[in-house]
Symmetry: C2
Subunit: 231 residues, 2 copies
Amino acid sequence: MTITLIPVHGLPEVHPGDDLAEMIAGHAALEDGDVVVVTQKVVSKAENRLVEVDPADPLSHKAHVEAEAVRVLRRRGDLVMTETRHGFVCANAGVDLSNVARGWAALLPVDPDRSARWIRDGLRARTGLTLGVIVSDTFGRTWRRGVTDVAIGTAGIAGIVDLRGTTDALGRELAVTEVCVADELAAAAELVMGKASGIPVALVRGVERQWLRESSVRAEIVRPPHEDLFR
Amino acid sequence: MTITLIPVHGLPEVHPGDDLAEMIAGHAALEDGDVVVVTQKVVSKAENRLVEVDPADPLSHKAHVEAEAVRVLRRRGDLVMTETRHGFVCANAGVDLSNVARGWAALLPVDPDRSARWIRDGLRARTGLTLGVIVSDTFGRTWRRGVTDVAIGTAGIAGIVDLRGTTDALGRELAVTEVCVADELAAAAELVMGKASGIPVALVRGVERQWLRESSVRAEIVRPPHEDLFR
């Protein structure tokens, strides 16, 4: 069983009010069982989650960071480590200037699980296919340098697959094996999108059929503060 | 440009002293530019990083956890969050009972970058191909539930790709874009390996040619404590 990562080429620039499902269906050769990974930036644009900033002041989006954060966990210089109202812990509450027109910043979608559902429902209505949709964003990690893409919203594709109770190749019961396949799918898709190449959508073809089920990043992946050892 | 994730089937159980490069070359249809992702467990077995534990006591490997850790960051119940001598922050110092014969536990390789180099050099000697090798392991995350595979050792494939100074699709200079492609490749490969299916090696075919360069997880990805906001 192989998996193929396929960038979707030719999507036009996305504007507020655009129908992402229609745009994706028009540019991607979708097949049944595909997982469609859509970067947060185009979802935020389609949903008009854009705010004006002073193009002459590289820090003018910081007021929006403070407004979007429900808690500031750490500060160092210009870096603000925040908790968002979705429960994400990320830099700058997800407020971001890259791949947005000069003078504007993009905020995270209000409810990225709902955004994923809208796109999935729109694609299903147009194609009749069983598909998963992941809204992805680029987060740093506590203990490791560099950023990777993770899932901030899902629809029709598992967040976490619980392999506990299954046995390993030697017949021993596996202990901790709650694999976050949604984050692994988002990371995999990023490999063919590339930050600089302006490809905001990729398909992951060939995932396990049983991973295609209803899901929610908020309910499955966000770690509640009471489980958390480092906040 | 698509990327394909290909599981390597048919590898026999690995024992101390086995030549992993020879085993992989004999079972994988390698092509020039492939990245070979090898799970830590078989590397530890080949390098005889196995210790005896009491099969009647599910906690008897904990003494090895304490020995392998250079620092314990947090404890909760049986969970011990540790820093290893490699600089990794992970549960139980990477000491692990799954996919190991009853009565044994596997420790992390002494130097996973060196392990990756050994395998890469062995594959290159046998095939003449330019290949990357990643040794992967399964780590939890501070703020998100579930585990994902990350790179603990690399050879011939970039750890972090720095896109700073390049421009985004709108011609703006990108700010923070040090993408940890090695972790994204490890996560992608896990999607076709699966914890329970006993496939310890996968190929990632079709990566950007310029990612195939000398590298080191220790030097590139491990975040030094002085950069760290949460330790």
